[in-house]
């Protein structure tokens, strides 16, 4: 399978590329840890007032915070993956070269982004999580099967995250300047994924809406799978459904873009 080898090579390239910047990775780990400490205290105060808020006890709320810090960079929850680069290539017209390559544009970037994801999950996610688990009360399962189920949920989350960001990146074919869209991506990412507050704490209709959006597959579902709050199969179905919708949407948008839009530079 030549194609599979190609995408594995692209993914490995994405992994190595991010692995190059050790000081930046260490700096990121430090920042994630600091924000984790701040957030944990606010959550503890909140759960002090309302024990079992959103169905979590204190240890589960703390676990949720550290999962958020661990997944933030890896799943590019507030953006910051391949999309900046692809948008820049669309703006400058370099994307025309990508379209000539004997590889699928979407699969190419998916492979590269999954490589980046894997590095950042390991390089930036593990240390803050371990620090959090050592210094704060957390609720972690002993069963390795649950950890495996959690791993699958994270991978699906990475694909959903890619699907969202691919659509955002393609918008540059029409808008050229992607700043506004990137900002929108950041706002929706931070708010709808549950980075600020677990989605099951959101009140009423607002809560039901955000829990049905694709962003809930990034943090809320993996967290609930790990803490035994959600049935893994149900979570997978939800994530896979959104991944398919987003990826197919990406392909449709891509073909519309390449057919109707004259690439920059004639």
């Amino acid at each position: 399978m030549g194609a599979a080898r190609l995408y594995v090579a692209v993914a490995a390239g994405g992994f190595r590329r991010y692995a190059t910047y050790r000081a930046a990775t260490a700096a990121g780990v430090f920042t994630n840890t600091v924000f984790g400490v701040i957030l944990v205290h606010t959550y503890l105060a909140l759960w002090d007032e309302r024990p079992h808020l959103g169905g979590y006890d204190q240890a589960q709320a703390v676990t949720y915070v550290w999962l958020g810090q661990a997944l933030l960079a890896g799943l590019a929850i507030q953006g910051g993956g391949f999309e900046n680069e692809l948008m820049e290539r669309i703006r400058t017209g370099d994307v025309a070269i990508d379209l000539y390559r004997p590889a699928d544009l979407q699969m190419w970037w998916l492979a590269s982004d999954l490589g980046r994801s894997l590095f950042q999950l390991l390089g930036r996610g593990v240390v803050p999580f371990v620090v959090g688990a050592l210094f704060f009360p957390v609720a972690l399962p002993d069963d390795p099967l649950i950890w495996l189920a959690f791993g699958v949920a994270v991978v699906l989350g990475a694909v959903v995250s890619f699907g969202i960001r691919y659509l955002v990146a393609l918008s540059a074919f029409w808008l050229l300047d992607g700043k506004g869209m990137l900002q929108l991506l950041m706002i929706t990412g931070v708010f709808c994924s549950g980075m600020t507050l677990p989605l099951n704490v959101f009140p009423g209709v607002l809560g039901e809406v955000v829990r049905a959006l694709p962003w809930s597959a990034l943090l809320q579902l993996p967290a609930d799978v790990l803490m035994g709050k959600a049935d893994p199969l149900g979570a997978y179905v939800f994530a896979v459904a959104w991944a398919v919708v987003l990826l197919v949407g990406g392909r449709l948008l891509e073909s519309a873009a390449t057919r109707r839009v004259v690439v920059q530079g004639g």
Partner: protein, 272 residues
């Protein structure tokens, strides 16, 4: 003939910032949209606080208007600093690609140039959002206002902005040594303003001690606001500590200035 260095620095800052403002206003629609976007983005953490208060009546013993006061003070003073010298947070990039050299050969103070570099007027969004929340807090909060307490408000904002400014300058000096440390700086700047949005009672004693005595961010709002709200500060500081922010700010700025000189002197260009 020659004007003094601080005046020259301010003049250079004004000229460079003015240039960036004119360039950003060239695309008015894009500018308006990014301001709106920044306003939303900056408001998200207050939305999170509102969501918390949709579930509880008090957080760490503080009610919503009191938390809003802390939030407003923190975000307004940080917003002022963020508007004026945000690009200091990205100085490492200039060191990495060697463009810091350009600033060194120009006849204007490097710090003024680095701070005004890529001045982004859209950052007024955070300042505006902070002031809106502060306005709400001042209307809603239950305080026996005395002339002293009223006077303390602008003093807090200016001192707070200066304390954050010192963190930005010290961070920039550190980035000359470690170019990839931009995120470490964010932990103290954005992390700092986030920390101060919540009551000190929420955090552990050690953490509160650290940001009071080591990195004195607590003087941006926690300590003086405790006096305004008539609440005891967790560490039992004497009452006059509430009026210390200007002194703390001056001290921080002096230390940051020193760090900046050391950092700049140790600068080695990329060598190509």
């Amino acid at each position: 003939m020659e004007s003094s260095r601080p005046v020259g620095g301010l003049r250079a800052y004004g000229l460079i910032a003015g240039m960036w403002i004119r360039s950003s206003l060239a695309y008015r629609a894009s500018f308006a949209m990014t301001v709106l976007g920044n306003l939303l983005l900056s408001g998200l953490d207050f939305v999170a606080i509102l969501l918390m208060f949709s579930q509880v009546d008090a957080l760490g013993g503080y009610r919503l208007p009191e938390v809003a006061l802390l939030y407003g003070l923190s975000v307004t003073s940080f917003g002022l600093t963020d508007l004026m010298c945000n690009s200091l947070g990205q100085l490492g990039q200039r060191v990495r690609d060697g463009t810091l050299d350009t600033l060194l050969v120009r006849p204007a103070p490097v710090l003024a140039q680095a701070a005004a570099d890529r001045f982004a007027l859209r950052r007024v969004a955070r300042l505006t959002q902070g002031m809106l929340v502060l306005g709400y807090a001042l209307v809603a909060v239950d305080v026996d206002w005395t002339p002293l307490k009223v006077l303390l408000l602008p003093v807090m904002l200016v001192s707070g902005a200066a304390i954050f400014g010192a963190v930005f300058v010290a961070g920039a000096a550190f980035q000359i040594l470690v170019q990839d440390a931009a995120e470490v700086q964010s932990a103290f700047t954005y992390g700092g303003t986030t920390l101060l949005q919540y009551p000190p009672t929420v955090f552990g004693k050690e953490l509160v001690r650290g940001v009071t005595f080591v990195l004195p961010l607590a003087f941006v709002n926690w300590v003086p606001a405790a006096y305004v709200l008539g609440r005891p500060y967790p560490l039992g500081l004497p009452e006059w500590a509430a009026f210390a922010p200007p002194l703390v700010a001056v001290g921080c700025c002096a230390l940051a200035g020193l760090a900046w000189r050391v950092g700049l002197r140790s600068y080695r260009s990329t060598g190509s």
